[in-house]
Amino acid sequence: MKTKLLQILYDMRTQPVIAWVTVAGTALSIFLIMVVLMMKSVTLTPFAPESNRSRMMYAPYIDVRMGENNSSSGCMSGEIARTLYSGLDNVEEISLMDLDLSPVNVKGTSGERFVANSRRTDAAFWEIFDHKLLSGRYYTPEEVEAGTKVAVVSEATARRLFGTADAIGKTMQVDFVNHMVVGVVANTSTLATIGSGDVFTPINVHSSSDYLPEMGEISVALLVSDGADRDAVRRQVESRYAQVNSALASEGKWIEYHNSPFDHKLYTTVTVYSNTTPNDSTADAIDALIYALLLLVPAINLSSMLHSRMRRRVSEIGIRRAYGCTRARIISDIVGENLIVTVIGGIIGIAAGTLFAMFYDGLFTDAGGEAVRPALGMLLNLRTIGAALLACLVLNVLSASLPAWQAARLSPVQAINSATNINK
């Protein structure tokens, strides 16, 4: 250990560029891996208003077929949504809602007209997603049923609309239609892609397209019970599909089943199309590919750097072999020495990642509304840091193995007489 540290210090003095680039390169790649991990944890770790992420499932679309080459896919009618998804075993609650935010034009008494993120929901939405009500109330099932023009807005939106957070009972325009504000909720981060919003209004739970009655403007979010078998939920949904389809058969139509509802991870990692079955393994494959690239690219660079550091030490390796060092020991010494360098770089990278998580808001800011930072603990926890250290280890093994093996492969004479050696 001590001699390895001495060797590293010596390298830093005699080959400062290579040594520092190695450390900086490691630090940079560990930093990037941490940022990716943090962004990942933002999509997967539960936080308000999506505290139930681990229990959520989503059914965004249906795919209606009317023969071989005639199909239409998109959001559902209220009736189809209820037929397919309400009253399933092990599902505690469902919400008919917009799974995506859409921009709306809003105006309050302050006179400013601006664009805000809108989400239309039913009343159950407020039970599945844990928003914090600051004043007023949420809209009720009756209001949703009746299509009453009411709205719940975020605090920041209320201030912008009315110049004050005290907005209850005031009137605002949502896409030029007057709505009464009944509730004000705390600001939420758009990183909560399914629960957040600036303006919430009742969705038309009876929506149905004139052209195709099965289709409409509804998507469904499902809250399953703790530890529920998600495949069992899907099997129930599949048999609901079969029932619906036997009724549709007389019209020559059927609804193609695409394995919905989807788990949170799948739905938030891959793009889900309305007319294909998303591949569960794609989500994992995308993750694996990202991490592999994040590790492989720097590993190749570090490897060539280590290779050139080793070239200056070939004759040293020859001498060590002459005095009884085995090939295995040469390899383990080089890998071990490199591990120290990688860990030094890794610690710098983790420190940089920590500072980034603490002070850089850009990652969490969005165009509309107020940026809400996720809690620091969500970004920086033992898992992120453990994973970063594991990445160090993998980086080390990937980058050191080849140069170490090359160094150990030479016979002692070849090594001792190597021309790159600088004697004395």
Binding site: T3, L6, Q7, Y10, D11, T14, S315, E316, G318, I319, R320, R321, A322, Y323, G324, C325, T326, R327, A328, R329, S411, P412, V413, I416, N421, I422, N423, K424
Partner: protein, 222 residues
């Protein structure tokens, strides 16, 4: 009793284009406690032979026996162990490890042993014997050539080997320092009974040794 026995040693170097025969049919045995010098013109195969004796290289044909061990049958790891406990090496260009100080350079062979007791004492003992005890904390780059070769000799004997193989140990030294190194090698041979095989171009040095073997074109000629 022969401590080193070479039988019908041949060595051919093959590169992509050419084959060089470096040694042909060499038979040589070295007695225990002998101080042998090897002479011959440049390129005649002296270093090649010394490397084969030192188990640093394999002969193309023939057998090597050292302290009654048939070295051909040893695995790579076993050879490393064997070198560690039986052989010491001294090279023309010292071959000290530049990043290690004198003490760590001397200690090197002990790093590859399992018994690790009293290493510091051993290092200090040989350093004092070779007159470099006051330089233990220096890096090789801070030493003169003569001092470097003393460190290399200290490294060669710290593990108490029975054989020292020295390839032109005075080749890079002026005559005064060269004589000092030769005196040291003779002392190690006489007082400690270490067998020494030395390659040299210096007739005067060779004449001080027990026996001279002369090479020409990969063969022994006397």
């Amino acid at each position: 009793m022969a401590i080193i026995e070479l039988n019908n040693i041949g060595k051919v170097f093959r590169t992509r284009e050419i084959e060089t025969t470096a040694l042909e049919n060499v038979n040589l045995s070295v007695e225990k406690g002998e101080f042998l010098s090897i002479m011959g013109p440049s390129g005649c195969g002296k270093s090649t032979l010394l490397n084969i004796m030192g188990l640093l290289d394999n002969p193309t044909s023939g057998t090597v026996r050292i302290t009654d061990t048939d070295c051909a049958s040893l695995s790579d790891t076993a050879r490393a162990r064997f070198r560690n406990s039986n052989l010491g090496f001294v090279f023309q260009s010292f071959h000290l490890i530049p990043s290690l100080n004198v003490a760590a350079n001397i200690e090197l062979p002990l790093d590859y042993r399992s018994d690790s007791g009293q290493r510091q004492e051993r290092v200090r003992e040989v350093a004092e014997r070779l007159g470099i005890a006051h330089r233990l904390k220096h890096l090789p780059s801070q030493l003169s050539g003569g001092q470097c070769q003393r460190v290399a000799i200290a490294r060669a004997i710290v593990g108490r080997p029975s054989i020292i193989l020295a390839d032109e140990p005075t080749g890079n030294l002026d005559s005064r320092m060269g004589n000092e190194v030769m005196d040291l090698l003779h002392e190690l041979n006489r007082r400690d009974g270490i067998t020494v095989v030395m390659v040299t171009h210096n007739e005067e040095q060779a004449r001080r040794t027990d026996r001279i073997v002369r090479f020409f074109d990969g063969r022994i000629i006397n």
